[in-house]
């Protein structure tokens, strides 16, 4: 048994090239073959037959993913899942035949009455595909023919913490690697000077708290954890030189460091030290490559207008969407946006309108922009939250102040590009929008599908930890084939 199986890379034997590949800074698909080769060398051939497999498990449709995570649980009933029947039974109690004794959260679970609420928003069909969309999403309506709406998502988690953790890591409880970390581990990146997994969180947005482990690497090596890009002068932690050190000073300091390291290297060959030398070279390169990517001065007016007025507001969802495209262009493998604030337990109509105002145009613009640049076909865009919302009212059903509680039994999301069948919808809920009627898609199925599009068999990208193999999808997950091109 070799220690490599356990996931602790010894620094010994780490060649410079392996370093480049291994730290989320590598040369594209070399990542996976490198990984597989490493396992083979280690005598662990369980993931591959004798030296046969190098590269992807199958041909990849997508090279990268932009995951627009809508945190808090957007109300599918008011956005994507058109339920006219609900308007007819508005105000009536949720029938027991529909509820079927399923657990509710502690927030509305002890409520004496559960009155149904129809959506106050108008739905209409859009595009040649005739997809139903709410009036709250006028721009998204413009990409109706590019997207696949899934109305039959479901999860087991009933609260935000476990829910977000589940969709990001495949487990409701903390400790597992996130999806981006898995992909960084499997695929590396196509740009040496940027991380393979970048995270951006909308700035100054209240809502349910997010936690850094959502983009953590769990038991995978820490190098695979998401690198958060912040708005402001230090997009990456301590990217900038300290006050008073200009780039010439920095260069002199690094040159001196390099000289000392080479003096040391002359004493004896040392791959560990070589790794260290390249680490500082890369850091220096990142100091220019990162500011370049976050500087949108070169974007055309048309592009900026496409995303909308907030594009000039650093840290806004809109600005982050544009940054996502720029990162995607530069080979970042997994770009994760978080936009909190979708947790409308009360005051839903106003709250939801506001959320859509902040996100609708930019989400659609991202898809259009990618399409114009010919990048949509190999970029998978995912728009989803951690669960849906109830068809019944939380608290008092009182005009426009009603709210909806968490609902894990069914919810909606959409995807576009990267091998997803455009202009389609998949899955149906019952007429109450409470249970799934057709084609259930579990969170693990979504994860399996995303990995499939990237050329990875989700059952075969595994990592050995604490005596067993782990994977993103635990022991579950089926690729949702009908929504693939």
């Amino acid at each position: 048994m070799n220690l490599k199986c356990t996931g602790f890379d010894p620094e010994w034997g780490m060649s410079r090239r392996r370093f480049l590949n291994g730290f989320g800074m590598g040369m594209g698909a070399i990542g996976l073959s490198d990984l597989l080769r490493t396992e083979t060398q280690a005598g662990d051939v369980s993931n591959v037959t004798d030296g046969a497999l190098s590269g992807m498990h199958h041909a990849a449709k997508a090279k990268r993913v932009i995951f627009l995570f809508q945190s808090g649980g957007p109300s599918q009933i008011d956005l994507l899942d058109h339920k006219p029947h609900l308007n007819k039974v508005h105000g009536q109690q949720l029938p027991d035949s529909v509820r079927q004794g399923q657990r509710l959260t502690g927030m509305s679970g002890n409520q004496s009455s559960l009155p149904l609420v129809g959506s106050p928003f108008k739905f209409a069909q859009h595009g040649e595909s005739g997809q139903w969309l709410s009036e709250l999403l006028p721009h998204t309506a413009g990409i109706a023919d590019d997207m696949c709406i899934v109305n039959s998502m479901y999860t087991e988690a009933i609260n935000h913490g476990p829910g977000v953790t589940f969709i990001q890591t495949g487990s409701q409880f903390p400790g597992r690697p996130s999806m981006g970390a898995w992909l960084s581990y499997g695929l590396g990146t196509a740009n040496q000077n940027l991380p393979s997994f970048v995270v951006m969180v909308t700035k100054n947005k209240g809502g349910q708290p997010l936690v850094s482990r959502l983009w953590g690497s769990g038991f995978l090596p820490a190098k695979h954890q998401g690198v958060r890009f912040r708005s402001g002068k230090d997009p990456v932690l301590y990217l900038n030189n300290p006050e008073g050190i200009d780039s010439a000073s920095r260069k002199r300091m690094l040159d001196a460091l390099d000289q000392l390291h080479h003096l040391q290297l002359e004493q004896q060959p040392d791959p560990q030290l070589e790794t260290r030398i390249s680490q500082y070279e890369l850091a220096f390169k990142m100091q220019s490559s990162v500011p370049e990517v976050v500087d949108v001065a070169g974007e055309s007016k048309e592009t900026l207008d496409l995303y909308g007025p907030d594009v000039n507001k650093p840290g806004s969802y809109t600005a982050n969407c544009l940054l996502a495209r720029r990162l995607a262009e530069r080979g970042v493998r997994f770009i994760q946006l978080y936009h909190p604030g979708w947790d409308q337990h009360g005051g839903l109509p106003g709250g939801l309108r506001n959320q859509c105002r902040e996100t609708d145009q930019a989400s659609a613009a991202l898809v259009k922009d990618l399409k114009q640049r010919g990048m949509l076909e190999d970029t998978l865009v995912v728009w989803a939250g951690e669960f849906g919302r109830t068809n019944y009212c939380q608290g008092q059903l009182n005009g426009n102040q009603f709210g909806r509680d968490h609902h894990p039994r069914c919810y909606s999301m959409w995807m576009a590009g990267g091998g997803i069948k455009p202009g389609t919808s998949y899955g149906k809920t019952d007429e109450y929008g409470y249970n799934i009627a057709e084609d259930r898609v579990h969170v693990h199925d979504l994860q399996a599908t995303i990995m499939h599009l990237l050329g990875i068999d989700h059952e075969r990208l595994t990592y050995r930890h604490q005596g067993r193999r782990y994977r993103l999808t635990d022991v579950h997950g089926e690729v949702v084939k009908p929504i693939l091109v």
């Binding site: 051939v45 301590y238 990217l239 030189n241 000073s249 968490h406 595994t462």
Partner: protein, 1205 residues
């Protein structure tokens, strides 16, 4: 697996013919070569998990496996035929498993069977062997027994140890390993200069005696314990657990035996007459993440906590990967799902909630109140007072005839209710007012509470509530009334009357369930009719003080909870609310009427009268006229009178209440910490289907796994028994796991390189005999951790050079053989502590609340960094927030501390370089080091600065070429900064320390542990030769005129000015060195003045005042070195003149921290000093500081500064 055997012979022939002959000679080892394949590829379907077992075949037990293995005959073994098959329906493992066996492994299996298929049980579950010491050829390289084992293995492969590391490398290595800090220059010099044969041993002993040792060891243990200063999950509030961290430091520093260390943390609360410290140790079990998110299911998370405790116990102490068995029998190791829940049961038995309180700051129960000595004394006094309180005899009513008694009782009325609810006026959204006996009543929705104006009673205050209610059905749970902000979201703080399973329960609660008093009626209340209810409370803070009355009669109750130690007020919801509570189940469709609140305890008689006055009065009168009143009735009347009429009792009650209030006040102020406290009654534990909290299967009792030795029957079957079972000298796992853990701490990797997994999927020990020998020796010597560590670092293996040849790198890339010393980057904490120590910024104090260094401002959940000292404490004191841990520490691979981790990853990324090049802590430290060396050597001494800087950061002398690189960077940077004064200002403004650029030279005096001394250094050296007169220390800087008046007071008289000395020596005849006890903590916030009358009899370096670590600039020193010298923090200043030998001289030095001014006075006259003026500082001086700072910032990133070599 029966058919297809016939093709085997042919196939085997083809397959094996080539390789077989060559390979057969090599002996296949079952443990090393075969079990890993079987375990990894076969056990998922043919292993210990009966639920997943296919074809009733198991390959984890010899007998069963030999169904498909014929020893000596691979051709006849179905195991072989199946793994060789190319038929997709036949081949094992099946293709859909994504598992396969390589050609080499197939060969190994065949060879092993051909060689007789020797089967062994898994080593880790077997008793330790008693290995003999192997003999070695190079006896000169054996320092202790460890070397016998390592070297004999090396020699068997024609290898040997590398040469010894240089002494400089060695002291750096061992100082970091044992204290987590770098050696100082004087420590290095001391070691280099010590040519005694035991120099290294003495060094090791010194390091282990240092308090830094405990800090280093605790820092490591905090990963294992998943220590965090916040609760974790999503909301992630702060929690108070750091006293446990300090307990760990103390435990290591006092070298607590490992078995005791384990027992106290697992079960200190169960030890006989457990001390507070032993109970505090059990906080270990409560350090898992905890949940508060609204709407969560309480039981779901409570189960999660128990699971975490169980798994942490297994991983940390026994190297077992228990997690698998939560959902099903373990796939690889002989641990069943049932056994998992049997272990779980040991950790299930505390009175805890799955959610902590959102609306209050209650500490989740069970807790330990951390009382200081004063508080303990107060509690003791008040408790004994309470015990002595005796209820006064009813003198006033003694001898009264029944008739008279009844008459007085019926006439005497207590105070009126403080609130009566008018249900005509109240009524919420759906609350319809109804009618009860002609009085208004409310019908409740269950969602809308009726709020009252009163009810904020303290726990020592008697109160009562009476009401009528009508429940439409038998409620499983319904809130009748309460005073609280919420249910689980407030830990139910307050008090409440509930219907539970149709019964009434009344409770006073600080935090449910562990800190409350609660009673519940035995009888179910009637449904669909009006019932009169009263709840009375006597202020006694015990369950027996709560009474529930149903229809005027005292109801029989069971005590549910009887421990209330903290307040029931605060947290919001300060008045009574009827019928509903936040996120709780309300009294849906229930009716209430006649709701009254009393600020006193109602008597039984009053309650009876309220229910039916006529009937009660009649009954009493009849009784009285019939005959003597029964004792029961008489005592009821007496109770009524004592509660309402008696003056004697009034005084008694007031006194009692006031004493109780005082006690409550003391207890309410005491801080609490989460600990373990075993419930007297065992909580039921169940096997949970797929580990889910709500899918209970069979009930289980606590028991240890069958694969391990049984528990001694004399032990109690609880956590304490479990801890003692585990630390039994013969337990196969505990000592091996411990020894392996410490080996990893010293050598970077364990002898078992999967310290988290000693099971079948884990790595085999690289040196199994050494592991057993060390474990035996460890146990035989009383689990002595310091001794064990000393053994390791004294070995030749540890003292080798880490330089490796290309050949050796090829032979042993992972250094499993230890033919060289291991080399790896130091852990995150050490990298930061290193620059703090090197720069002199380190605030070297023990323990206390967590601190917030600069990097927390850049965390995902930013906190405001501390001002001053908190920035410079050792990293184990850094505030740890689970949802946004310290970002530099994370970049440098610190554990996240969500779950127990016994090993850290070591990765390398450019983000680490950025953190160490640009992170404010590192930038500031570079500057501080530059300032420190410039002050010490003066800006002319470039060689000395370059040399010291390199040595401080790498512990070795730079080579000529290296010095050249440093000098040339310095001069380039100096030129640059001289040309860019603005850049100098900016660069020198990084960090809070000694802000040259902004406000002149601010002084900072580091705190140290030394007491003040007069006349000598702490070690008795540097004696002052001569006499002393009056000598004093003031904690303010004197002005020149104040010094003059000080000097005018003769040496044998007390100074009687307004400014009082912080300490003053005894007056003559003195002259002997003097030590001032307990002066280590003297506060100097503004500055200080040192005064002494001295008459030196010889020139020399004699000390006057001394409060400093020899060789360090960490305190204060006034001496005659080189004339008259004053060291204050990092400043070393010489006076213009010195006292004349043989003459009495009044010597004064002052330091003003704000302005940075340091002055000397002799006999009241100014004698020089430093009067800095930032504007007067030359550009050259500033450029020099900045240039050296950039050199230091570069060197901080040098490989030899950050890597163990």
């Amino acid at each position: 697996m029966r058919k297809a055997s016939f093709i085997v012979a042919f196939y085997l022939h083809c397959f094996l013919s080539v390789a077989f002959a060559q390979q057969l000679q090599k002996k296949v080892d079952f443990d090393r070569d075969i079990r890993p394949i079987l375990s990894d590829r076969c056990y998922i379907c043919h292993g210990p998990d009966s639920g997943a077992r296919e074809a009733e075949l198991r390959l984890d037990l010899q007998e069963a496996a030999f169904d498909v293995i014929v020893p000596g005959e691979p051709e006849a073994s179905e195991l072989v035929s199946r793994i060789l098959s190319d038929d997709v329906d036949e081949v094992m493992p099946p293709p859909e498993s994504n598992l396969s066996v390589s050609a080499k492994e197939k060969q190994l299996i065949s060879d092993w069977i051909a060689q007789g298929a020797t089967w062994k049980k898994h080593w880790a579950f077997e008793q330790r062997s008693q290995p003999d010491l192997p003999t070695v050829a190079s006896v000169d390289r054996v320092a202790n027994q460890i070397d016998n084992f390592l070297l004999s293995k090396l020699e068997s492969q024609d290898l040997s140890y590398s040469k010894l590391a240089s002494r400089e490398k060695l002291i750096r290595r061992v100082t970091f390993d044992l204290t987590g800090l770098p050696p100082t220059l004087s420590e290095i010099d001391g070691f280099l200069g010590d040519d005694s044969p035991d120099a290294f041993g003495k060094l090791v002993d010194r390091l282990m005696r240092s308090n830094h040792y405990g800090q280093r060891m605790a820092s490591d243990w905090m990963d294992v314990a998943r220590y965090s200063d916040t609760y974790g999950y999503q909301v992630d509030r702060d929690r108070y657990v750091w006293p446990w961290r300090d307990w760990v430091i103390r435990a290591f520093n006092s070298n607590m035996p490992y078995d005791q260390f384990v027992i106290e943390q697992l079960a200190g609360d169960l030890l006989p007459e457990a001390t507070d410290d032993q109970i505090l140790a059990t906080t270990f079990n409560r350090l898992h993440p905890q949940k508060v998110e609204g709407g969560s299911v309480e039981e779901e998370f409570r189960i999660e906590y128990v699971v975490d405790r169980t798994q942490t116990f297994a991983t940390a102490f026994m190297g077992l990967t228990l997690e698998c068995a939560r959902c099903h029998d373990h796939k690889y190791d002989p641990l069943t799902q049932k056994e998992y829940y049997q272990l779980f049961s040991y950790f299930n038995n505390i009175d805890e909630s799955g959610l902590y309180s959102y609306f209050t700051s209650s500490v989740p129960t069970p807790t330990l109140a951390l009382l200081n000595d004063e508080q303990k004394k107060q509690v003791g006094v008040l408790q004994s007072q309470l015990e002595k309180f005796a209820e006064p005899k009813l003198t006033g009513y003694r001898g009264l005839a029944d008739a008279a008694l009844l008459d007085i009782a019926l006439k005497s009325k207590g105070r009126d209710p403080i609130e009566m609810v008018d249900f005509n006026v109240v009524g919420g959204r759906n609350t319809k007012t109804t009618d009860h006996r002609g009085r208004p009543a409310a019908k409740l929705t269950g969602d809308d509470a009726i709020a009252l104006k009163t009810g904020d009673f303290k726990r020592h205050a008697p109160f009562s509530v009476s009401l009528s209610l009508n429940t439409p059905d038998l409620k499983q749970r319904a809130v009748v009334f309460h005073r609280s902000r919420a249910w689980t979201d407030a830990g139910s703080r307050g008090y409440q009357l509930l219907i539970e399973d149709g019964k009434l329960s009344a409770s006073l609660i600080h935090f449910w369930p562990g800190n409350a008093i609660s009673v519940k009626t035995r009888q179910v209340i009637p449904v669909k009719r009006w019932v009169d209810i009263a709840v009375t409370y006597d202020g006694s803070i015990s369950a027996k003080g709560i009474s529930i009355f149903i229809d005027g009669k005292r109801a029989d109750v069971d005590v549910v909870k009887d421990k209330l130690t903290k307040n029931i007020t605060g947290g919001g919801g300060n008045t009574i609310a009827i019928g509903a509570r936040f996120r709780d189940r309300g009294f849906t469709n229930g009716e209430v009427a006649s709701f009254e609140v009393f600020d006193r305890q109602l008597s039984d008689l009053e309650v009876g009268l309220k229910h039916d006055e006529e009937q009660v009065v009649n009954a009493l009168q009849q009784l009285q006229s019939a005959a003597e009143m029964s004792d029961a009735v008489r005592s009821m009347l007496v109770q009524h009178l004592t509660l309402n009429v008696s003056d004697e009792h009034d005084g008694y009650r007031k006194q009692l209440a006031s004493t109780r209030a005082q006690l409550c006040n003391v207890l309410d102020r005491a801080t609490e910490i989460m600990v373990m406290r075993e419930l007297p009654q065992t909580k039921d534990s169940f096997v949970l289907q797929r580990g889910e909290y709500n899918h209970r299967l069979e009930q289980v009792n606590a028991a240890t796994p069958a694969v391990l030795p049984a528990m001694n029957e004399a032990l109690p079957n609880n956590r304490l028994g479990l801890a003692k079972w585990m630390t039994d000298p013969n337990h196969p796992l505990t000592a091996r796991v411990a020894v392996n853990h410490y080996w990893q701490l010293i050598f970077g990797d364990g002898i078992v390189r999967t310290p988290e997994d000693f099971g079948r999927q884990g790595a085999l020990p690289t040196h199994p005999q050494l592991l057993d020998w060390l474990a035996n020796d460890f146990v035989a010597h009383g689990w002595d951790v310091k001794r064990l560590l000393k053994q390791m670092v004294m070995s030749t293996a540890y003292r080798q050079s880490s330089v490796v040849s290309e050949e050796l790198l090829k032979i042993d890339p992972d250094n499993e053989l230890l033919a060289r010393a291991p080399s790896y980057r130091w852990p995150a904490e050490m990298l930061r502590d290193n620059v703090l120590a090197a720069s002199g910024l380190l605030v070297d104090e023990m323990g206390g609340p967590p601190v917030k260094p600069y990097e927390l401002a850049a965390s995902f959940k930013p906190s405001t960094p501390d001002k001053g000292e908190g920035l410079y404490r050792r990293s184990l004191y850094t505030y740890w927030k689970r949802t946004g841990p310290a970002p530099v520490m994370m970049a440098l691979d610190a554990a996240k501390r969500d779950v127990c981790r016994v090993k850290r990853e070591r990765t390398s990324s450019p983000l680490q370089a950025l953190a160490m090049l640009n992170g404010p802590q590192f930038v500031e430290a570079g500057r501080a080091l530059s300032q420190r060396l410039l002050t010490q050597h003066g800006s002319e001494a470039e060689d000395a600065i370059a040399n010291d800087m390199f040595r401080i950061l790498t512990s070795r002398q730079p080579s000529k070429q290296e010095t050249e690189v440093i000098r040339s960077l310095y001069s380039a940077q100096y030129d640059h900064f001289l040309a860019h004064p603005q850049a100098v200002q900016e660069y020198l403004s990084n960090g809070q320390f000694g802000d040259y650029a902004k406000s002149g030279i601010e002084l900072r005096l580091p705190r140290n542990q030394h007491d003040f001394r007069l006349g000598s250094a702490p070690n008795g050296q540097e004696r002052f030769a001569g006499e002393f007169g009056r000598a004093s220390v003031f904690n303010v800087p004197f002005s020149e005129s104040e010094v003059k008046s000080l000097a005018s007071v003769p040496r044998d008289q007390v100074f009687a000015g307004d400014l009082k000395p912080a300490l003053s020596s005894s007056l003559p005849p003195a002259g002997e060195p003097e030590k001032f006890e307990k002066t280590a903590d003297l506060e100097f916030s503004k500055g200080l003045t040192l005064e002494a009358w001295v008459k030196p009899t010889a020139a020399g370096a004699g000390r006057i005042w001394d409060k400093i670590t020899p060789g360090k600039a960490d305190g204060l020193l006034l001496d005659l070195y080189g004339g008259l010298r004053f060291i204050c923090g990092d400043r070393v200043i010489m006076a213009d003149r010195a006292p004349v030998t043989g003459q009495w001289t009044h010597v004064v030095s002052t330091a003003d921290f704000k302005s940075g001014q340091i002055r000397f006075y002799l006999n009241g006259e100014a004698a020089g000093g430093v009067i800095p003026n930032p504007n007067a500082m030359s550009n050259e001086s500033l450029a020099s500081i900045a240039a050296w700072a950039s050199v230091a910032n570069m060197l901080i990133n040098h490989d030899e500064c950050v890597t163990k070599r």
